[in-house]
């Protein structure tokens, strides 16, 4: 099949394969992770009998492949589980139940996802603005003072770990200057204004880390485009420098910026782990770190798959944008 539907189909199949492979890896990694899951789940002072009971209840004694098989079954067909007093159904796709909280992982994802998406998408807008803006400026005014300053700022962002930037920003902006409230997640649907207001600081700290990469990439590809022949054409026709930089050179940076952005969505979600932990935003990242610490395998698998899904999605979207931007590219 070819054309756009074919592309979507191929990507979808590829994504499923990739995600399944990731889930296998997570299963194996957590299988060999030290830590008695039943003991952790049961509590530190549980008696050996109780621990055994918990292990049996969570099927922890089953061999790995069998547990994975149950996971797959749950994904495809859903799964029934006992609350003690009644039986409940977790409908497909069911990632299982959290060992710790007995919540359905699918439900957990739905409650955490909006937070992470709010964080990453807002930060993305900021880092694109900040990064590409800086890049354009520094390509245009290369060697000037303003370029140096901007480049320095973005590099400082890259050089400083997010938890340092975030905390210092918070202490200064919220604690000392009292310009912003201490971030606290408010759902977009509840109050859009508060949503943005509260997320501003997390957005900024996350964006600062990524902006430098975009600035440098934009600058490099613009300089590269500026050296190309068609730029010479427009110069030879008296087209002004502003239009050459703003229209023609910037356009050349578009494709690589999209590609980098796709890659960065992944690392941003990684960065979001730290940002969410620091700012206390109840998102995927925070939940994931917690789940890793208490070896809550179903939650870890679920969250990792969600993150993986978005990375794969970002790459596919980037490919489409790429092809739209540059029609010479064929979608494969």
């Amino acid at each position: 099949m070819s054309g756009f539907p074919g592309f979507v189909l191929r990507r979808a199949v590829g994504a499923v394969v990739t995600l399944l492979a990731i889930s296998v890896i997570v299963y194996v990694v957590f299988y060999v992770t030290p830590g008695n899951v039943a003991q952790i789940t049961c509590g530190p002072r549980c008696s050996p009998e109780q621990v055994d009971q918990v292990a049996r209840q969570l099927n922890l004694d089953d061999p790995l492949f069998l547990r994975y098989w149950h996971f797959l079954q749950g994904l495809v067909a859903g799964q029934d589980y006992s609350t003690g007093t009644s039986v409940q159904h977790c409908s497909a796709p069911c990632f299982g139940l959290s060992y710790q909280s007995d919540q359905q992982v699918t439900q957990l994802i739905w409650t955490k996802l909006p937070v992470s998406l709010s964080l990453v998408s807002g930060a993305m807008v900021l880092w694109l603005l900040l990064g590409v803006g800086t890049g354009v400026l520094s390509a245009w005014r290369r060697g000037r003072f303003s370029e140096r300053v901007l480049t320095g700022v973005t590099l400082a962002g890259t050089a400083t770990p997010v938890f340092v930037i975030g905390l210092v920003l918070m202490i200064v902006v919220c604690g000392e200057l009292r310009l912003l409230p201490f971030p606290q997640y408010v759902a977009l649907t509840d109050d859009p204004e508060q949503w943005a207001w509260n997320l501003l600081l997390p957005w900024l700290s996350l964006a600062l880390i990524e902006a430098a990469a975009f600035a440098r990439l934009t600058r490099a590809s613009m300089l590269e485009t500026l050296a190309e022949d068609h730029i010479r054409t427009f110069r030879a026709y008296g087209v002004g420098e502003r239009s050459i930089v703003g229209r023609h050179a910037l356009r050349g940076a578009f494709a690589p910026v999209i590609a980098l952005n796709a890659n960065n969505v992944g690392s941003a979600i990684g960065g979001a782990v730290l940002t969410e932990t620091l700012f206390g935003l109840p998102g995927i990242g925070q939940e994931l770190v917690h789940a890793v610490n208490v070896v809550d395998l179903p939650v870890v698998v679920g969250m990792v798959l969600v993150i993986g899904f978005f990375v794969v999605l970002a790459n596919a979207v980037a490919d489409v944008l790429y092809a739209v931007a540059d029609r010479r590219v064929v979608l494969t």
Binding site: D229, H230, T233, A236, Y237, G238, V239, R247, F254
Partner: protein, 545 residues
């Protein structure tokens, strides 16, 4: 006042003086060609006319006046008005000279709006108008296409349209046809000719191809090392050159009409020797049957070569001509085993042959990319020796030195890097590397297309010589019909992956059977301006037919 007045122009790039004390004038409506070998400073002059050296670090001396503007002293604003408005430039490489991301019509409109106070809509209309003017069919629709959707010839026309948009008084065309096939080249040259007939535009044509100049201009200025060598009316300079350099240049131009005798006679003699030597019949050394090659899969599948069968005899030269994209390179690569055919087979010495075989070598078109810039040429030449298992450094060095000398270089060049050689020299290195494998067959894929005429003549001569001495069988791929005629015994004409005509050189060139062959032959520029006019008429007929 003349349209262009150049007096004592000199341009220095650092140490290098690219243009040295050049003076010339061009009147309104007149046409002047700057000809000369590569690197003689032609493009530098063209750029100087538009003040394109401003701010690049080049030092420009003398004075340049174009359409009343003193280019040297003009402000940025004045320069911008001059560029495109008074004098427009058409660049050499049509693909890279257009912004790949914007529709062609928009690009033309953008330029138009710089010079004319016009609305967006009016500018677009103007773009369609000029595209139509340069013969783009269905211009309104095609103006929305992006450059990659245009063929090379169309792109070049689009560039000319862009130049026409503001009705400049001077058109500077820097090698407007070098990247194009002969047939397309003829179309573009015809277009320039018509435009000049219809408007009173002055034309400055920059070219290294004397033939192209002969077709298009009134006056010729021959350049060498940045200086004018000879200047005068086209018929005089080309017909009765005064300067030895001009004569040399003209002599090197391969001619369609020249008898191919010079090369074939001795070749046959050698062949006989070879036959005696090997005491074998003059049999086929390389045979291809039903070769087919597809690229891509599914809907996007594209057949580059289809059902090609050919035979190469010992010691003979088979020429393959055809326009760009006709499948010549693909065929050549299949012959040497670098590409696997989708169908059909290649037999070497009667045995089926897959993969590479040291006895079948290749010389590549581009002397720049065919040598690894990070390895010394000696190392590259030694590759086949080492791959064969030769370990003795002394013997390797000796053999490489011998090969280098054989192709007219020095043995001491072993340790030099490719960028330290000129194009012609690099092509010689490529030939030496092919020879190092002691091949019986060499497929030359456009070995001289990237070289200028004089160098081209040297390399062609070298190949002929080697063939005679070593009894090699050659496949000579080229799009230049004249060159092929010079070197080949037999010739095959390719079009859209097929061989449309094949036969001994004289037959194919003398009495072409296929209409396409005839078209090709008619498109070759003639050196003589009068002959050129005749050809133009001939082409019109063919096109009309």
């Amino acid at each position: 006042m003349s349209l262009v007045e150049v007096t004592g122009l000199s341009v220095d790039f650092g140490e290098l003086r690219a243009v040295d004390g050049l003076s010339f004038r061009l009147e309104e409506g007149a046409a002047l060609a700057l000809v000369g070998e590569s690197g003689s400073g032609k493009s530098t002059v063209a750029s100087a006319l538009l003040g394109l050296h401003h701010g690049t670090g080049a030092r420009v001396g003398g004075s340049v006046r174009v359409a009343g503007t003193d280019v040297q002293r003009a402000s940025d604003e004045e320069l911008r008005r001059l560029r495109g408005g008074q004098a427009a430039m058409v660049f050499q490489d049509p693909l890279s000279s257009l912004d790949p991301y914007y529709a062609i019509g928009d690009q033309i409109a953008e330029v138009y709006r710089v010079h004319a106070r016009a609305s967006r809509r009016a500018a677009r209309a103007r773009a369609v108008e000029v595209l139509d003017r340069v013969g783009i069919a269905d211009a309104a629709r095609r103006s929305r296409s992006r450059p990659h959707e245009f063929s090379g010839g169309m792109r070049q026309r689009a560039l000319i349209a862009m130049a026409l948009a503001c009705e400049p008084r001077l058109l500077i065309a820097d090698e407007p046809t070098t990247a194009l096939d002969v047939t397309v080249q003829a179309q573009v040259l015809d277009l320039l000719h018509t435009l000049r007939e219809e408007t009173s535009m002055g034309l400055l044509l920059v070219t290294h191809d004397v033939g192209v100049a002969a077709e298009s201009v009134d006056e010729v200025l021959v350049m060498r090392h940045g200086r004018a060598v000879e200047h005068g009316p086209v018929s005089r300079v080309l017909g009765a050159p005064v300067q030895p350099y001009t004569r040399e240049l003209l002599a090197a131009v391969p001619r369609l009409d020249a008898p191919a005798a010079g090369s074939t006679a001795p070749q046959e003699a050698v062949l006989e020797e070879a036959v005696l030597e090997e005491a074998a019949p003059k049999g086929a050394v390389l045979e291809a049957t039903g070769l087919r090659r597809e690229f891509g899969r599914g809907k996007r599948a594209f057949t580059a070569v289809r059902d090609v069968s050919l035979t190469l005899h010992r010691g003979e030269t088979l020429g393959i001509v055809g326009e760009s994209g006709s499948g010549k390179t693909t065929l050549g690569r299949m012959l040497v085993g670098l590409l696997e055919p989708t169908a059909g087979e290649v037999r070497y010495d009667g045995r089926p042959h897959t993969g590479v075989n040291p006895a079948v070598q290749m010389v590549f078109q581009d002397p720049v990319s065919s040598l690894n810039p990070r390895r010394s040429v000696g190392e590259s030449i030694a590759d086949p020796l080492r791959a064969r298992g030769e370990r003795d450094e002394g013997r390797i060095q000796a053999r490489v030195a011998e090969l280098l000398e054989r192709v007219g270089l020095e043995g001491a060049h072993y340790d030099r890097y490719p960028h330290e050689f000129s194009g012609g020299q690099r092509q010689r290195v490529g030939i030496a590397r092919a020879l190092a494998a002691d091949p019986r067959v060499i497929v030359c894929d456009e070995p001289v297309s990237a070289l200028d005429v004089t160098t081209q003549a040297h390399v062609v001569a070298l190949l002929g010589e080697l063939q005679r001495e070593l009894g090699l069988a050659l496949v000579f791929v080229a799009h230049d019909l004249a060159v092929v005629r010079q070197v080949s015994d037999r010739v095959a004409v390719m079009r859209q992956g097929r061989i449309v005509e094949e036969g001994p050189v004289d037959e194919v060139y003398g009495t072409p059977q296929d209409p396409y062959t005839r078209q090709l032959l008619a498109a070759v520029p003639a050196l003589d301006p009068e002959a050129a006019a005749l050809r133009r008429a001939e082409r019109r007929e063919l096109a009309a037919a």
